[in-house]
């Protein structure tokens, strides 16, 4: 067809406005989808930190060795002798404590007797 014929082809009313609207829609669709892709791909750092802390705690419990007291004796006889000595020391201290308590009790009794005597003298 000749160029003149091409120019005789009627352009529909509102064609440019329709295409403008179409381009706006493409732009809108692209922006919405780009936002959605960004939102889905974003790393939630708070979740990463929580997961790391949990993993660190788990590893600590898994690999922790129970606290063992330090073994200071190699000879059992020596160890027994040491225990015996410690118990005797405790007993001695307890014994002196009992004696002190007995002496205090005697003093209290003497004092009480004195008060009773004075009271009896008064009443008689």
């Amino acid at each position: 067809m000749k160029e003149k014929d091409i120019n005789e082809i009627e352009i529909p009313n509102g064609l440019e406005a329709e295409m403008s609207d179409f381009i706006d829609s493409m732009d809108a669709a692209e922006r919405v989808m780009a936002e959605e892709r960004r939102r889905k791909g974003a790393v939630r750092w708070s979740y990463v930190a929580g997961a790391a802390a949990t993993a660190a705690l788990l590893l600590t419990f898994l690999f922790r060795q129970p606290a063992m007291p330090e073994d200071t004796f190699t000879d059992p006889h020596e160890a027994y002798a040491c225990v015996e000595q410690a118990l005797a020391s405790i007993s001695e201290k307890m014994g002196s404590g009992v004696q002190q308590a007995r002496r205090a009790g005697d003093k209290i009794d003497a004092g009480t007797a004195k008060i009773k005597e004075l009271y009896n003298r008064k009443t008689n």
Binding site: L15, D24, A28, A29, V32, E36
Partner: protein, 170 residues
């Protein structure tokens, strides 16, 4: 290339492109369909179009080839069974059906977007159109609609989620 720059270069040529398509197809509706396909293609490659010397010649060549591809594919389908058909390479860079690459716009996506917006209730439809199509900021939309800015933000956010869900199959 921003939307307004794209429109400034390619939109005024829509009449020329339409005539080139109509010349081949002879149908107003088919010519408009092909014109939309052309704009989808140009939009998806717009970053590489900035150095085109003659947008008119470039666009006319593409739409003419697209129209010829359509005519050939239609005539190919009506050929009788048993006849060995020769391979026909498409003239356009991309097949008539359009690109299905991830992240690129397809014509069906635009139609789905429009359907989704039409299906929205007011004031969401108006608010989403103002935000997405007219690039109005939240304060402006709030002033026009009488809604609070927070309300406008919530409405736009929900509207975008609806659109994203509708377009998620593409």
């Amino acid at each position: 290339m921003e939307r307004e720059d794209f429109k400034r270069v390619w939109l005024p040529l829509s009449g020329n492109f339409y005539r080139a398509a109509y010349l081949v197809l002879g149908s107003e509706q088919e010519a408009k369909d092909i014109l939309q396909d052309l704009y989808v293609k140009l939009w998806n490659i717009r970053s590489s179009l900035e150095n085109i010397d003659s947008p008119l010649a470039y666009g006319t060549r593409i739409i003419r080839n697209m129209a010829l591809d359509k005519v050939r594919s239609a005539s190919y389908r009506t050929r009788r069974v048993g006849v060995v058909a020769m391979e026909e390479l498409p003239l356009s860079d991309t097949p008539f059906q359009g690109s299905a690459e991830h992240g690129l716009i397809e014509k069906e996506m635009v139609l789905k977007l429009k359907q989704t917006i039409v299906g929205m209730q007011e004031p969401q439809r108006s608010v989403v159109q103002m935000r997405l199509f007219k690039d109005m900021d939240y304060a402006e939309i709030a002033r026009k609609t009488g809604l609070s800015q927070i309300n406008v933000r919530v409405i736009v956010s929900r509207g975008k989620k609806m659109i994203a869900r509708a377009l998620s199959e593409y």
